[in-house]
């Protein structure tokens, strides 16, 4: 318990610093064009949603490029990007803001959501299902045509500028009844589906991200494909593009390809010994 609490404090302190205005809005801007290769028309769709001021929900398995896509879009649209990784201790004041005491004085500090509304940025709530349900409710007025953010403590209501956009991400692979997105929340978003890119493109991505030769990336993708075949046959999720990139990075830094794949792909995916052995054999078959 103690360390969780400590972690919580450290996190809050970190946020307080951030909230205390020490990070300027320019630093939220995505400065360099992030690497992203569009799979279909998702860029156009997102831009259309943005123009129409519609909130967007990104759905897809873990590690398929949702977060990267948002970064890319923020860069394209030249808007600041404020990302909040949701967790079950996230309170609404963590999102909206709170009063802090400073040398006997009190000072109001905006939360990331408020800040994003004020600067007209893109607020990205990652893994929204992890947040407590009462927390998610604060975004509701922002997501319909009112586009309002009530700040109860200050008795203010902020109207979001046209540039502001709310995005959430969500992995529908979770089957837990405890972590389901409420319908009242889910029906406020337009949904975009993401999945792993087609293999030529995935090889391109892995090669670019891990800085490894194309041929090596092709092998990693081939391996990924074989392991994805095992989804629903004992594996809950296949190897994500992210894991393939991790493996690539390890290889790049001089770790033997087979070992790199075991560390980055085989071990994280499953604890089942026979499954792990089978994956290992797939690795030694492909690599």
């Amino acid at each position: 318990m103690a360390h969780t609490k400590l972690g919580l404090n450290a996190r809050r302190n970190g946020m307080k610093e951030m909230l205390a205005g020490r990070v300027r809005i320019e630093e939220y801007m995505v400065q360099q064009e992030p690497y992203y290769s569009p799979v279909g028309n998702e860029v156009a769709v997102f831009e259309t949603a943005y123009k129409n001021r519609l909130p967007v929900m990104l759905k897809g398995p873990t590690g398929c490029g949702k977060t990267r896509f948002i970064q890319y879009m923020a860069y394209r649209l030249k808007r600041p990007l404020i990302t909040v990784a949701c967790h079950d201790d996230l309170t609404s004041s963590d999102l909206v803001g709170r009063y802090l005491v400073k040398g006997g004085e009190t000072e109001w500090v905006d939360g990331p959501l408020t800040r994003a509304v004020k600067v007209g940025g893109i607020c990205y709530l990652d893994e929204i299902v992890e947040a407590r349900k009462d927390t998610t409710v604060v975004i509701h007025p922002l997501t319909d045509d009112r586009r309002l953010l009530p700040i109860e403590k200050k008795g203010e209501i902020l109207k979001a500028p046209d540039e502001f956009m709310l995005c959430i991400s969500y992995n529908p692979g979770y089957q837990s009844v405890m972590k389901d997105l409420k319908h009242s929340t889910r029906q406020r978003f337009v949904g975009m589906n993401f999945s792993y890119p087609p293999k030529e493109m995935e090889a391109e991505i892995v090669s670019h991200e891990a800085q490894i030769p194309k041929e090596q990336a092709v092998e990693l993708v081939k391996l990924g494909e074989k392991i994805r075949n095992l989804k629903d046959k004992g594996l809950e999720e296949g190897a994500s593009t992210r894991l393939l990139i991790y493996a690539g990075k390890l290889i790049k830094s001089g770790i033997e390809p087979i070992e790199a794949c075991e560390i980055a792909i085989g071990n994280p995916l499953t604890d089942d010994a026979e499954m792990q052995k089978a994956i290992k054999e797939l690795i030694t078959t492909v690599m």
């Binding site: 318990m1 919580l8 404090n9 809050r12 201790d89 309170t91 004041s93 709170r98 009063y99 802090l100 005491v101 004085e105 009190t106 109001w108 403590k153 200050k154 008795g155 529908p172 692979g173 979770y174 089957q175 837990s176 009844v177 405890m178 389901d180 293999k199 092998e219 494909e225 074989k226 392991i227 075949n229 095992l230 629903d232 046959k233 004992g234 087979i258 026979e274 499954m275 052995k277 089978a278 994956i279 054999e281 797939l282 690795i283 030694t284 078959t285 492909v286 690599m287």
Partner: protein, 784 residues
Amino acid sequence: MAAFDDVKAQLFKILGQNSFGEDVIVQRYTGTHYARGLQSIDEAVPGLMTLEEAVLEEVYNLGMDLGKRDPEMAFYFFKTAPDAIKHFSFEDMKQWVAMGLELFDGYGAVPARNFFKGITRETIQKIHVHGLEYEGVARTLGIYLDGLSGGSLRLEKGEESYTDTRRVYLPPQVDLSDDNGLNFKLYKVMAAHKYAQMRYRSFELRSKELEELFERLESRYGKSASQEASTLESFLTLFPDRAMATDLFSLLENARVEHALRLEFRGLGRDLDLVVAMEWGLRPNFSKLSKREAVLEGLMQLLTRGTLREPLPEDLMPVVGRCRAMADKVLGEMATVEDTARATAEIYEILEGFDSPYAGFQDMYHRGVVKPERVTAGLRETQRELGEKMRRLLEDLKIKPPPEIDSQVQHAAGEVADPFAHGAPLDFLFRFGVELPEEIKKELLAEIEKQLGEMGQIDSSLLMKVLDSAGRKIRASIQARVTEFQVELTEEDARDAILYDEWDYKMGHYRAAWCALKERGMKRGSDKFVEKTLEKHRELVTQVRRQFEILRPDYKRLFREIQGEEIDIDAFIEALADIKAGTAPSEKIYIRVDKKERDIAVAFLVDMSGSTTGWVIDTEKEALVLMCEALEILQDKYAIYGFSGKTRKQCDFYTIKDFDEEYTEDVKSRIAGMEAFDYTRMGPPIRHLSKILDETPAKVKLMIILSDGKPEDFDEYKGEHGVEDTRKALIEAKRKHIRPFCITIDTEARDYMPHMFGEVSYVILDKVEKLPRKLPEVYRKLTT
């Protein structure tokens, strides 16, 4: 040779006595007999005298170990040992002794003495099993093969390693090495080799490309191609010596496939090298082979390692060289099985030039064998399934299936064993003389494109996948036919029954009070069932218990509470700041330590339709027993119900355990009493259970349905109608904040499950055996 007296003295030293057993008097109807049971140690001596000194020494040593436990057992050992030496190596002898000792420790002296009185065939078999057994590697290799092939090949145990294009058979054991790590590699390479044969299309020869060759062979050897068999089989039949042609063909094809495999899967090259090195020493010497056999052996060695194990006889060297040159065409990057067929014909001609006997050729062990008849049978099976899928698709499209398909489905006779006999592979889908709608064609072609990534070339297993997934999409977009057949509901039927509505998707409204559901008690079954199940799955039970222990409600600190034992500093400071700033502070500034309750109610609804008879229902019951064990630990509220019935008049709903009932002996015997009845009308029981769950207070309500197939009843409740009504019933349940989830063993379920239950609310098991393991796992995942 040891002298009689020496041996006898040694035995006496070890055994400590001169005779064993006892003389007995036996009463028979012929009178009293004196049976001689006493045996002198002299009887053991002559046999031992035949052994060499060194061996005898070891036998003494082994016998000494036995003698310490039981001299009589040791005596029988000495008597049988000379015979055993003939069967066993010395290592085996040790194992034989160990087996006897095990028997002695476990069951006492008498069975152990009997064990050493002679050597039975079972003993020999048991001792000779070395190495790795199929059962030990089946799951790992099954997953491995699934990963490689994307699920189109199934692993099975066979007498040797081969494939029929649908299943991969591997031998019961592999014992080429003392190192089981190497034996495993051998198993793995065998499986990969079979996958390669499918991936590089070893069995589906395209007769169109081989017309010229067929004509040439027909005129040369005067045999004509069979119309009945697959192209591969009829190709091989064209040769006068079919066995030799088959061997030659597989030799060349193995070289082609292995070459391609090494190119595509670089890692496998290492394992292949390892396995080849292991087998290299076991190749026969040229001197023991006839000329034809030696040429094949030499060619194989050159193709495998580029070198020969030993020099070939002078006269054969140039011939093998020529053959090797001809075989070059199968090693090209784009080489196909048709190239192999051509090379086979050419090299066969060379072999004919030798006037020598031919007893057969065995390729390397890891390559297994080719069984053309099994391939034909496998392809036929695939053809039949393809035809059926095609027909189903056409029916759904309301296109009358042409008679061709019927003949194909019925007995797959005639020329259809080869799907590509008539031209380009894509034509297969369109060759039935029916014009498919343009969009359907597009869908099929797109799917082919997609599947090509998995299996390298278009073959029938690929088409199968294509028809599966494209068919699913197409079917989802159209409405299927429903047989109109309704049953009257009389007043009699409705008495004492609860009436439920049924959804008519075609009319878009409910049929009011349509189904009569009756709650029924479950009869008692054998009370041993639960015990037996717990015994059978002992390991799993322990594992499940442990997993669920962890889930047990735990004490947790809840922050920002109105009251509690501690002050929440974060909340307190925030409140202070609020006060300073002049706004109303929150009162929630305490930390409360509380048991985090799992307020969950789960109901299991078990499909007891006729199709679950036997194995399926028994496994469902076993899974329920395990689930009860787990839930007793968690103390979640749970209930178990079953359903079946026949038409809307009779929807039976069986109560096995109610929510407010304890897990008593009664409940256990009701689980044991569950059996398979009639049909699967899913709507009414779901609606009824929704009602029960709705009246049960709990924060989270779960309905887990165990099923083995589509909703289906004797009347019109099938196809689209059944699916749509079930779907509607589930939507009603969701409206009551009940979360439905389905575990099914229907492998076709992917067709309708996503529509019926929603994308993430179901699990399909490929084998019913997995249910006892999977059910607790699913529950755990659902509720954490």
